[in-house]
């Protein structure tokens, strides 16, 4: 029946079964070879696997894990352990040994560099130590201790490798070797202690009666055997630290060989015993007793068993045998090549890329190379040997690991470069492809020669080699495509196409790069090159966009095609890292096209742990908020241009969004919160982060969530204040820090952190003074005015959304702060005083009943406070002109004071201040408009209809110095509109003036003061008609509606 079919799991033996089978055994490692008896685990893993009880329902984690490691899939083994650990039904036996298994996996994982090895050993030590601490009574606790000793051995080995590195002084070498020996001695002590303990335990172990007892005894024996092997290996390693001629080396290696031999004699029918035999051979090899060594290796290779475990052992022995044969003192290169050929013929495909397989292939390359070196230059075999050597080395170089490093170094051998300088004519596709690859290898070889000190090339020379090699490779790959036949494997043809795409891109031939890469990505998405090609396509389009001199049409084409390439990547490889990059492009594209839902969809599709998601969320969050502000502005006729003028720039969609304002705000907030969190986790603190944080803080302030805003401000590392003070130019750019200070100030005042708020004011002033120089005063004044406007806007938003309580709190906070600042001795600075006045004014505005003629008491109070501060400024300027940064600044104060006085109904005083300004600066449009508005308000609010005439025609006449004629200082709406009509830039102001002109004329006409009602009404009507004729759009929809409403009123009045 089916159930009789045995799995590998079941075939993993107990100790007593080792004679027949199976599992894998690693050996101690030597200096530079696969059989560098990596002395770890193996036997332990093997034996512990044998003891696993096999429940019918349980995941076969142990054999699977071991299989993954044996196959070299250590990354998958770690992933598997993580997956299993996260499962609620993870077998408890596995849960207990997770750290142990992770340690075993890491320790057996090949690494390429010294740094990786060091990191690996550190991590492994942590894992084993934690396992021993957490599970001191677990059967694997002893094994973990053994593994810790093995880590010591590995550390020692690392030092020995360092000591042999080029450039190491004799003193450094001696020191390193001494430290290495110390590691080995420490490890040996652990093994000796274990040996004593295990020998004693085994001696006293009662005869087992049950299966469980037999298993326990077998486990003990396994530990014992492993310890003995480890002891022998410790001697081997210590011996290898001495020079070849040193008597210590000879003694220790002989001792190790004897220990191995004893183990082989006793346990030779077990797999572990055969390993001892191999290691014995290794000792003979190092003792230069080559015949004994080859005998030992060949005896293992003759083993009939071809299970995975035996194959691994035999492959290791094959590698050692070839290594011995190519030793300079042996020089049996042809024999080595023959052994390799036999191995190649009989190996299963899966052996090719195992560490042992790669080592055998690498050593075969050395054998071919050395044999070629021994031949005369015209020998016909020499060329073939060199081709074989290059082919093998290139194969090995495909796989990561330490063997690749050595293969690269060997590739730099000058002999391998012979014949490579002349261009060869390929006869078929395969040859052309290989020649192309070989041409590319020249770049790497040149770099290695440079690193190894074989050649001293300047940067220019290296670049020249690179350019030539790429050019040559390009030619070969093109030829390969031409030589491809219908039966040529499509994957290989695609390899050639991919190289062409890559080289075209590198050479800046972007259109050609796009043709190859886009073709591969779309036609062969499942091939090895499909996805990388898609990346080239996207990059090529991106590069096109930034080419100098690109026309708008070309840019549009590149942008469109880049978006298409990105969309394709997202659709075909949605979980790839390329898709994450592609989504970023699509987000930007969507924002440029004002497609908010698409931008949100793309950013949501990026995996949470993908790099770059955080900043992208911030970008979209800011764009959404900008759109929210736009919608809110549209809804409100008040302060249309002020709402977001200080918002950090974002790609702002202007089309109507399918989301309503509330949804936009929620979505923006959610994206900003998440984006900030992810960015912090990613360590991506930059300008985008600061801008996002600033926007979120403003949202919080505008909705009355002051505490949340305060938290954003105050964070010691990533808060607004900390970042605003950063000297990092990737964080602070332009005036972003000023905006951060402003928002911080608002947040601090809102939560009544007034001391801190004062400090921020100082920081802000210092910042402006440092960068703005003499114009600092004006800039600071503008900053404070905008700050007051922001506050006013916040108050209005809160009131609009019914958050009266929050609005009152904000007011109270600011009032308290302003009072405090006003009363402090430092409050006399011009900018601070003008900010105080403006803020009081803003607070007053927030209480102002728009459209009503009666001020609320609160509004009146704030306006009075504001006016008092403005008057104080003017007075102090009168006392000392240096108090204000400029006379223009005082003019601005006068205008603000006039506005404030007008709100208070003190029209005459208001006009007086405006006169002060306009008598010298008659063309100051905003002051002129305020004067006309003041007359108009005065007329309307106090029933003095004749003042409408002043509003229309101006007032305060005086004699002009130039010609002695009388002229009005105040122009009135009529003169204003005429002057403004000339200037397209002030079209909005023109319409304001023109509308008010008609309005005043209408109001005057219907008043009792008017004697020519009909005439004035018709004039008012004409005012509007002229506008309609000259400017059919009439200032936009909103203004047009106002004109039309007024026109109707006039018509009705005319009918009466």
């Amino acid at each position: 029946m089916v159930r009789n079919r045995k799995t590998q799991a079941e075939m993993i033996p107990s100790f007593s079964d080792l004679r027949k089978n199976s599992g894998s055994i690693e050996g101690p490692t030597g200096a530079r070879s696969i059989v560098r008896i990596r002395w770890t685990l193996v036997l332990l893993v093997l034996l512990s696997a044998g003891f696993t009880s096999k429940s019918q329902a349980e995941e076969q984690w142990q054999p699977f894990l071991e299989s993954l490691r044996t196959a070299g899939y250590h990354d998958m083994a770690i992933f598997y352990l993580d997956r299993m650990a996260a499962r609620p039904d993870c077998p408890p036996q596995l849960l207990e040994v997770l750290d142990y298994e992770r340690g075993i996996t890491l320790l057996s994982q090949p690494v390429s560099t010294r740094e990786e090895q060091l990191e690996k050993l550190t991590k492994t030590t942590e894992l084993f130590e934690r396992f021993r601490k957490d599970h001191p009574d677990h059967p694997n606790a002893t094994k973990a201790q053994t593994q810790l000793a093995n880590v010591l051995i590995e550390r020692g080995r690392l030092l020995v490798t360092d000591a042999d590195a080029p450039g190491v002084t004799p003193e450094q070498r001696d020191k390193g070797i001494a430290e290495a020996r110390q590691f080995y001695d420490d490890a040996k002590k652990v093994f000796q202690e274990q040996d004593v303990r295990l020998t004693e335990e085994l001696k006293n172990w009662p005869e087992p009666k049950t299966a469980m007892e037999i298993e326990q005894r077998d486990a003990l024996r396994a530990d014992f055997l492993q310890t003995r092997l480890s002891l022998a290996t410790a001697d081997y390693e210590i011996g290898m630290t001495y020079p070849a001629t040193a008597p210590e080396r000879k003694t220790l290696l002989e001792s190790a060989a004897k220990q191995y031999k004893d183990l082989y004699d006793k346990y030779g029918s077990f797999l572990a015993g055969l390993y001892a035999r191999m290691w014995e051979g290794r000792c003979y090899q190092k003792l230069e007793n080559f015949n004994l060594a080859t005998d030992a290796f060949e005896s293992i290779m003759m083993q009939a068993d071809d299970s995975q475990a035996f194959r691994t052992l035999k492959n290791k022995s094959t590698a050692l045998l070839i290594e011995t044969l190519i030793d300079p003192k042996v020089k049996r290169y042809q024999d080595a090549i023959n052994f390799y050929a036999d191995w190649e013929k009989g190996r299963p495909p899966s052996d090719a890329s195992t560490p042992e397989g790669l080592e055998i292939r690498y050593l075969s390359a050395l054998a071919s190379l050395e044999l070629a070196r021994s031949l005369e230059a015209d020998n016909k075999d020499r060329k073939k040997l060199l081709i074989d050597a290059r082919g093998s080395l290139r194969f090995v170089m495909r796989f990561p690991g330490e063997t690749r490093t050595r293969a690269r170094q060997t590739m730099a051998d000058p002999l391998l470069a012979v014949d490579e300088g002349q261009r060869q004519e390929p006869q078929d596709f395969a040859e052309a492809l290989e020649l192309g690859r070989a041409a590319l290898d020249k770049i790497e070889i040149a770099q290695i020669r440079q690193q190894m000190g074989q050649e001293a090339l300047s940067q220019e020379e290296l670049q020249k080699i690179t350019d030539e090699a790429e050019q040559e490779a390009f030619g070969y790959f093109e030829q390969a495509i031409q030589l491809a036949q219908p039966e040529t494997p499509v994957e290989e043809v695609n390899q050639a196409r991919y190289y062409l795409a890559y080289l075209s891109f590198k050479q800046g031939d972007l259109y050609r790069a796009v043709v190859f890469s886009d073709f591969l990505a779309r036609r062969f998405p499942n091939s090895a090159v499909g996805r990388p090609a898609s990346k080239i396509a996207m990059a090529a389009f991106a590069a096109m966009m930034s080419q100098p001199g690109i026309t708008p049409e070309q840019k549009d084409f590149a942008e469109r095609r880049m978006s298409q390439a990105a969309a394709y990547i997202v659709a075909v490889w949605p979980n790839s890292s390329e898709a994450t990059e592609a989504r970023k492009i699509l987000v930007h594209s969507a924002l440029r096209q004002e497609d908010i839902p698409q931008a949100i969809a793309m950013v949501e599709q990026i995996p949470p742990d993908a790099p770059g998601r955080g900043p992208l969320q911030l970008l979209v969050g800011r764009a959404l908020y900008a759109e929210y502000v736009r919608q809110m502005t549209k809804q409100s006729a008040e302060s249309p241009d002020e709402t977001n003028k200080n918002e950090p720039e974002a790609e702002t969609p202007s089309q109507a969004s399918p989301l309503n304002a509330e949804e936009l705000l929620d979505q923006a907030k959610s994206l900003l919160v998440s984006g900030l969190k992810l960015s912090i986790e990613e360590g991506k603190i930059d300008r985008s982060f600061l801008a996002g944080e600033l926007t979120l803080a403003r949202i919080y302030l505008n909705e009355g969530s002051d505490a949340a805003a305060f938290n954003l401000v105050e964070h010691p590392d990533t808060g607004l204040l900390a970042l605003a003070q950063s000297s990092d130019s990737t964080i602070v750019e332009g005036d972003l820090d000023i905006e951060a200070y402003k928002t911080s100030l608002r947040a601090l005042v809102a939560v009544r952190e007034l001391e801190k708020a004062s400090r921020v004011m100082e920081l802000l002033e210092n910042r402006v003074a440092q960068t703005a120089g003499t114009s600092g005063g004006t800039q600071l004044m503008q900053i404070y005015v905008s700050l007051a406007q922001e506050l006013q806007q916040t108050l209005e938003m809160l009131q609009k959304s019914g958050k009266t309580e929050e609005a009152n709190q904000v007011r109270a906070g600011f009032e308290q702060f302003l009072d405090r600042v006003s009363s402090s001795s430092e409050s006399t600075s011009f900018n601070v005083m003008q900010w105080i006045a403006a803020t009081y004014n803003g607070l007053g505005h927030s209480f102002d009943t728009k459209g009503g003629s009666v001020l609320s008491p609160e509004a009146k109070g704030y306006y009075e406070k504001s006016a008092a501060v403005y008057e104080k400024i003017i007075k102090q300027y009168g006392d000392d002109e240096s108090f204000a940064p400029s006379v223009e600044a005082i003019d601005t104060i006068e205008i603000h004071l006039a506005i404030c006085l007008r709100e208070l109904g003190r029209y005459n005083e208001a006009l007086k201040h405006l006169f002060n300004v306009l008598q010298y600066r008659n063309t100051m449009v905003d002051a002129q408009m305020e004067a006309a508005s003041t007359y108009q308000a005065w007329a309307g609010n106090e029933g003095k209809a004749h003042l409408y005439l002043n509003a229309m025609l101006g007032g305060a006449s005086r004699t002009r110095k130039s010609d002695g004629a009388k002229a009005n200082v105040f122009w009135g709406w009529g003169a204003l509109s005429k002057r403004l009509a000339r200037d397209k830039q002030h079209r909005d102001l023109f319409h304001d003036a023109r509308y008010n002109l008609a309005l005043c004329r209408y109001k005057y006409a219907i008043s009792d003061a008017c004697k020519e009602r009909q005439k004035n009404l018709e004039a008012a009507q004409l005012d509007i008609k002229v506008v309609a004729r000259l400017y059919p759009e009439m200032g936009g929809a909103e203004m047009k509606a106002k004109y039309e409403a007024l026109s109707k009123k006039i018509e009705q009045a005319l009918k009466k």
Partner: protein, 351 residues
Amino acid sequence: MKNFLLKLKSSMKTTRFILLMACVGGVSLLNINSVRSDTVRLTSKQSVIGDVKQMTPDSVTLIRGNSETPVTTDKITAISFTDEPSKLSQAREAVVTGRFEDAITALAELDTSGLSGYLAADAAFYRAAAAAELALRGRSPVNEAGSKLADFVKTYPENYHYYQANRLIGDLLVAAGQPGSAVAYYETIGKAPWPEYQADSKIGMASALLADGKTAEAQALLGQVATPDALTPLQKAQIELLKAQSLINENQPDEAVGLIEAMLKTTSPEEIDLNAQAYNLLGRAHRQANRLQDALLAYLHVDLLYPGNAGAHAEALSNLAQLWTAEHKPERAQLALETLKQRYQYSRWNK
């Protein structure tokens, strides 16, 4: 699903076990030439000796002396005939012990010109069965084996191998990517009088229909399968896998994963074929849900732990090649492809 293949394999393996046991006991069943009567080897490890008098797809009747002994074919592992050529004996034993190349070699040396009746039918069946088994392992072309089996069922509709031959044809058609055509052959098995065969028939049909994308029809068939109590554990597990496959067809990978993992918990890890198929399905479900790393793990279970099921192994290797590529591990992808090409040259997964 290759449930009929499983069935055939099961019977073959049982036979192999019997043979081995017999050898151990000193009675070599391989020495067929010494047998003087026809011998029916039963799945119960017993034998019935006599002369085959009558044969139908459902039963074989032996006569010994004056007594007749009917044996239902579901209980029969193999029949050895009096004075049959030794090459036929060798071929039969090779097939039941899984040495299909040996069987083909032996049959190639068999002179069939003098064979008739049951012997000719047996030779035709084992020639076709050996070819089919190799084809199912991707080691020979499917079409050739299919033709031989089709000839067999057409020429010998009353032979006791009839149901087995139909199963193999169904399996071959599924392996060849023509599951729609397999349904009729699996349906034929349902004409057998035994509930186990009838359930197998429906399971096979449902499996083929699912592979053909006809999910609703497959589900309806599964609904008709006998009550769980009447099913063997193997059949129950197969039905669970079919349900999972049905969920995958309906784009419900998470539900499929739940079902497969639950099934794996109740299945012995030694059930190579079931486990191999289950992990492949698990891989498919994870791929569908874009959990590529999990899919890799699932397919690696088949590659590393259950490569004994050739069809499943080929499928796993094909998927691994694609997934390693997607995970930027071209060298691993290449390795999987090389293994696939070398071991399963004729598999449809090697395309």
